[in-house]
């Protein structure tokens, strides 16, 4: 039976037709098309690649304007616009361009490091930006997949942080409290992270399947539950550093650290490979297995799936276990790959990040990975941008938000760039549209 609250959420979220049908056997979906399905449709087929690219370029352009016109030097120059118009435009351009150059140098490649390498400097610094991009992308890929895979089954997973925490807690605990030989220790801790996340995610699936509790509400609330559980655990002596009153776990054993891929100077580590492997696995499950087929069918239409003999309830549990495991892996990757301890707020902003990249990647594994790499690059570049030009790193968040805003509003992009309206329908049209709309 669906709870009243869940029904209300459905009601507010639902875009169209049909009075809420009485919940049947735990299938708490009123009407034929719920909010999640509508969103899923919009996300998977509403955007062309062109729109995504244009959205990115628009975001960069607007971000540039913001960088330029929040700079006091630029504002001063524009105060003298009529006496020295050339200077006004030049300063604005230089400020924005300077910030983006620094961002590019921090995310992709820094020409100064390259020329230094040719003159006998360290080669590793040439690859440091790419390494940082990969490090930043790793947890975003994994949490993004956790949202994307749930999307495919018609579930809106807003609980990436809770599942992340579940994984981080277990992986961290195994990391600092257990003693095992090298490789094995790291592997066991990663597996622990996977299980920890799966438990938290699976609980959501179970609640939905058994009681009809709406996953949006349960996942949001599970974030709070896990955040406070984390804070509580870090207050216990067992989870704290000896002789230190602060709520921060002991450092994990060196055996539990995920090995670096290219030497100790580059932070990119096995976690990145785990993320890519997870993406490949998700793609395989979705497209090549019976489970994946059921999952997508349930996502498209739970009623049809049921009359075809599938069990939406079972699928919900399976997909939330899978989503939780993916986000749990992200927790393990952060604890074992970059942070080396468990601390409050280790879950960062992954809830929002994960939803964002899943939407941007149109809920496909490939798309999610690419979107995450883009976000990883923006984050890595943001550090350098802030360090060398003192442009606030918040501009990165602004750019991310603008990208999503534009991607979420295809009609706006079409209007701005006078693109043709895509015909209604699914994937085939996407092929026909292709480049240039």
């Amino acid at each position: 039976m669906s709870s009243e609250l869940a029904d209300q959420a459905e009601e507010t979220a639902k875009s169209e037709d049909g009075p809420p049908s009485p919940a049947t056997g735990g299938d708490g979906r009123p009407g034929a098309r719920g909010f999640t399905e509508a969103l899923l449709d919009a996300v998977t087929s509403g955007n062309t690649v062109t729109v995504t690219v244009l959205a990115f370029l628009c975001a960069i352009f607007l971000g540039g304007l913001i960088i330029a016109f929040t700079n006091t030097t630029v504002l001063h120059a524009w105060g003298n616009l009529f006496s020295a118009p050339g200077k006004a435009f030049a300063t604005a351009w230089d400020t924005a361009a300077g910030a983006y150059v620094a961002m590019f140098e921090g995310a992709i490649v820094n020409p100064h490091a390259v020329s230094a390498a040719f003159h006998g400097g360290p080669v590793s610094t040439v690859f440091n930006p790419l390494s940082e991009t990969a490090v930043n992308a790793t947890p975003i890929i994994l949490t993004g997949l956790a949202v994307a895979v749930a999307f495919r089954a018609g579930l809106f997973n807003i609980g990436a942080a809770s599942q992340f925490i579940g994984g981080a807690m277990i992986a961290g605990w195994i990391g600092f409290a257990v003693h095992l030989p090298f490789i094995l220790h790291a592997a066991v801790a990663v597996a622990g992270g996977l299980v920890g996340g799966a438990v938290v995610g699976g609980a959501v699936g179970f609640l939905k399947a058994r009681t009809g509790a709406h996953e949006v509400i349960v996942t949001i609330m599970s974030n709070y539950v896990m955040e406070y559980l984390l804070l509580y655990l870090l207050g216990l002596t067992a989870f704290r550093r000896p002789g230190n009153p602060n709520p921060i776990s002991p450092p994990i054993a060196t055996n539990a650290v995920l090995p670096h891929l290219f030497g100790s100077t580059l932070r990119v580590n096995v976690g990145f490979l785990i993320a890519l492997a997870a993406a490949a696995a998700v793609w395989w499950v979705l497209n090549r297995t019976t489970i994946g087929f059921e999952l997508r069918t349930v996502g498209s239409n739970p009623r049809a799936a049921r009359s075809a003999g599938m069990s939406p309830e079972r699928t919900w549990i399976v997909v939330m276990l899978l989503a939780g495991a993916l986000a749990g892996l992200a927790g393990a990757a952060v604890v074992q790959g970059t942070n080396f301890n468990v601390a409050p707020q280790i879950y960062g902003t992954y809830t929002v990040d994960s939803i964002t990249v899943a939407l941007l990647g149109r809920a496909s594994p490939t798309g999610t990975v690419l979107a995450s790499l883009l976000f990883g690059a923006l984050r890595a570049g943001g550090v350098t941008m802030q360090a060398s030009t003192q442009v606030p790193v918040d501009i990165v968040t602004v750019i991310e938000a603008l990208i999503v805003l534009f991607v979420a509003a295809p009609p706006l992009m079409r209007a701005v760039f006078r693109l043709r309206e895509p015909r209604a329908g699914g994937g085939e049209q996407l092929e026909a549209r292709g480049w240039g709309g």
């Binding site: 983006y100 497209n287 960062g348 802030q386 030009t389």
Partner: protein
């Protein structure tokens, strides 16, 4: 089923297509960035562009600070630390200062690394969460000077100036003052989160009230915290002011007339609640925490009897100046009443309303604490 199959077919074809298209998208955007890049470099060549940032003046000393996620305008320890940095700059024109804001706990390391690459004279990190990252960086770069706020190391590092503050001492003075000023016989405190840096203030406040009660045979009650059981009121946030307002309203309705929030920005919610109570004819006032409230939240100055501060500002300033002038030693520094590292802020608008006798008593208590005659126990020692 048919729909599912159709979708499946579409998806499989799409995936490879999407891959190429996305690769194309990335290539395009990279090209766009490179375009911007070369243009920027060109502008730089003409002498006024961003290339200028690659030519720092060698004589200058650069003080660098990595903030916690709060950023330099959190009205709390990040703001105080940044204030200290700018004061160091004001004290010595050869010093320039800059900061990096951490977006999450995962950006501590890259931020510190970015500053190491820029060859900063000193790197100041803010908050105990950065303890591990700072330690690792200090070990890897033994010649780089660091300072960290709110964290200490055992054993201490030669290249980390670890700055902590024994705020139980001025919290004690605050509690004594509150007990002396209350008309209703009830005072209240609450925390942002149950962290040692928060509860140490609350322990001191509770002790101070108890001490006043013992000396004057009064029965002033503390709402929101009990030192013995370490339980009390927490908002669970340092940013959501509404929660501070709600908690404070409850305290006021329970009869408290002096509120002591230990919750950073959340304290502004308390100030609002106090203001509302005042407008409604009540007589409720409060203390500010960490910084001098009459400066950091000046609009509410008339409600701040005093502020229970910690001298992050001057400690950071001294760390930067010592690094710039070659007197840097590293190791652990504990701010106390004795060395001026913690203190009650001036009374400002309350100078005339705090009785002279109470001021004299406060002075005596302060000396008692400094000379160790009055114990200031806490379960969250620095």
């Amino acid at each position: 089923m048919a729909i599912g199959k159709k979708r499946k077919g579409g998806d499989v074809k799409l995936t490879s297509r999407k891959l190429f298209a996305f690769a194309g998208a990335l290539a395009l955007s990279s090209a766009a960035l490179v375009g911007v890049g070369s243009a920027g470099a060109f502008a730089g060549a003409s002498g006024k562009g961003p290339a200028a940032r690659h030519s720092p003046k060698a004589a200058k000393f650069v003080g660098c600070m990595v903030t916690d996620t709060g950023g330099i305008d959190d009205r709390s320890f990040n703001a105080s630390s940044w204030q200290g940095m700018t004061e160091a700059k004001a004290a010595d024109p050869n010093i320039t200062v800059k900061y990096l804001q951490s977006k999450s706990t995962s950006t501590y390391v890259p931020n510190i690394n970015a500053f190491i690459a820029q060859k900063c004279g000193i790197i100041v990190t803010v908050g105990f969460l950065m303890g591990t990252a700072t330690e690792a960086a200090a070990k890897a770069h033994p010649t780089q000077k660091f300072a960290i706020v709110d964290y200490t190391y055992k054993p201490p590092f030669k290249n980390i100036d670890a700055l902590v503050f024994n705020t139980v001492q001025d919290g004690f003075l605050g509690g004594y003052l509150a007990a002396g000023m209350t008309k209703t016989g009830k005072v209240a405190t609450y925390g942002g989160m149950k962290l040692p840096t928060v509860t140490i203030y609350m322990d001191g406040f509770w002790d101070g009230v108890r001490y006043y009660n013992n000396v004057h045979h009064t029965k002033v009650k503390v709402l929101g915290w009990t030192e013995r059981t370490q339980t009390g009121e927490f908002t669970g946030t340092f940013t959501n002011q509404t929660k501070g307002e709600t908690v404070t309203k409850t305290f006021i309705s329970e009869g408290a007339d002096i509120i002591f929030p230990v919750a950073g920005n959340v304290g502004l919610g308390s100030a609002k609640a106090v203001q509302n109570a005042d407008n409604a004819g009540g007589h409720v006032n409060m203390f500010w925490v960490d910084t001098d409230g009459c400066i950091s939240a000046a609009q509410y100055c008339k409600y701040f009897i005093t502020s229970v501060t910690k001298g992050i500002q001057s400690a950071v300033k001294n760390a930067v100046l010592s690094a710039a002038h070659g007197t840097y030693k590293g190791g652990n520094y504990i701010g106390t009443l004795a060395n001026g590292g913690v203190l009650l802020a001036p009374f400002h608008l309350w100078t005339k309303r705090v009785p002279a006798s109470l001021k004299a008593q406060l002075k005596r208590v302060e000396l008692g604490i400094i000379h160790g005659k009055i114990p200031t126990p806490t379960k969250s020692p620095v």
